[in-house]
Symmetry: C2
Subunit: 346 residues, 2 copies
Amino acid sequence: MERNTYDFELEKIKKLIKERGAKRVGLQLPEGLKTVVTDIAAEISKDTGAEVIISGNSCYGACDIDEKLERIVDVLFHFGHSDTFSHSFGKAFLSKKRFVLKENYQKKVFFIELRSGVDVKPVVEKAVAEIKGDTVGLVATVQHVHALKEAKVVLARFGKKAVIGKSRLKYDGQVLGCDFSSAAVPCEEILFIGSGSFHSVGLALYTGKRVIAADPFTMQISIYEAEELRKKRYMAIARALDAKSVGIIVGMKSGQFNLDEVIDLKKKAVEKGLGAYLIAMDEIGEDKLLGFKVDAFVNTACPRLAEDFVHFKKPVLSAKEFEVVLGERSWEDIFKLFSFKNNGCF
Amino acid sequence: MERNTYDFELEKIKKLIKERGAKRVGLQLPEGLKTVVTDIAAEISKDTGAEVIISGNSCYGACDIDEKLERIVDVLFHFGHSDTFSHSFGKAFLSKKRFVLKENYQKKVFFIELRSGVDVKPVVEKAVAEIKGDTVGLVATVQHVHALKEAKVVLARFGKKAVIGKSRLKYDGQVLGCDFSSAAVPCEEILFIGSGSFHSVGLALYTGKRVIAADPFTMQISIYEAEELRKKRYMAIARALDAKSVGIIVGMKSGQFNLDEVIDLKKKAVEKGLGAYLIAMDEIGEDKLLGFKVDAFVNTACPRLAEDFVHFKKPVLSAKEFEVVLGERSWEDIFKLFSFKNNGCF
């Protein structure tokens, strides 16, 4: 990942540090950007005199603020995600009494969105060959969301209509791994501009549509079929149907904690005659779950993580998927409800 | 690990919960005991009515309190480690202004030492054959520390003198992975009663003596030679001698944080012309370090972890070892200073 691929907004950052007289500055970046963070730290330190502390922990989203780091710095710059919390999505989120979010986080944490300067037109042109219908829902991560209109023009040139949906997030057409409200538009397929499979898989699962993913950096086009992906989730649920006991994972990351939901879920499980145990975790890994003597796990942290855990020996379900096991939700309702109005996470 | 191997002090725990009217109770256990924790949680929940939340995170010592869990429970029971903080070792520790330790932790966190009921006599008898000299320093983890006197009697029967040293910890003869003060006794070898290699390796490294490790559960005797182990550390230091840049890891676990030390170390590194970057981390793993463009790492969290990281591609040194690279400490001084009076961690 080259540093000049993204706009790190260093001048803005340095200005802000000076204006605030910040002595200690935290930097938090997604894994792929750790290669450039030392250069950034050196520049900030040299030009502002501030002591820079880099978060070495994983960083999966705006829900994943390094709050221990936040506590010991004057300002924390969180790169690669948009400020989720000042928009309708985030307001619902904050209202859930998530204890970890401190009031002062809003004064201390600054989101640097890392807008990409890459030209999306070539990859959109390439993607056209994969579009079967006439209308696509056009979405992107925050890095490319400013280029969606340009992409729309390219598609029109090829006779394809693109709909950029309103969202609960900061920008129209923007998607998060856990919010696809901007993809809820009348369309036959989804065209996603961005990297990795996290967003594409979620888009396919929760819209039920075919997703064409176009990566403007690698020029790679990937296709995600909803049915195939949903089948894997149904299989995970099926594996958990005979469980006598479950470990309900309480996500302790700043924006993933929701104890009320977890306690409620446990109550329902116990009423159905299951043994149910609450397990508080920061980073979820199979090595940490292996020891627990339960038949299945329910992950109430980032709901999308359940998909990453399909290779685990024991089934790991999302909260909504577990409600199917409990007989509280129909199989069809998992993705329908999850996707738009009532996100599984919130 | 069988539940009846250790004394979980459940009656005491339940009484305390009732007396305090605690509604939410946290349980934190070392990895190996996760197999029994659901049974314990069920019993506590049934007999007290409290909501029990189990920590699913790793737990390496009394320095590693799950403080996010601590924040959301009324009491937290931390199993397997002794209360380090009310003794001289811990007082020095608390005086270092480690930010993570809240004042109320002392009111909320209870240490359940998990005394073992296993008979240590058979394994001590077996160990005698491996003792070359006449006098051993006799040490144990907190699980077996109450059996040291018994072990001493067995050794006397075989004509071996055992010295149980005073320590800075709660009990004479007790060792931690980072404190071997009780092994600073006149003796030819060390006899350690306990499991795993963490304590034995440290004992060999920091006393410079041959360590006979006797595991009363498995009846296995293992030998640790100081020279061999020290050589590995010297090699790690040698690998870091040409480093142009270092990542200095700031341990964010409750009892491992010491920002003053870290900033001081960084200053020294910069004065020597090195690029130096502060990296804050909870759980240290090679996957999280790979991205950083530096030539070596300095680990200021648990100093003993550097030994676990010998297989990492880039050298990872303890703070004291890094001082050798900086020319501030002689190679001979790493273990001498570390071991007794002035522990690297504190």
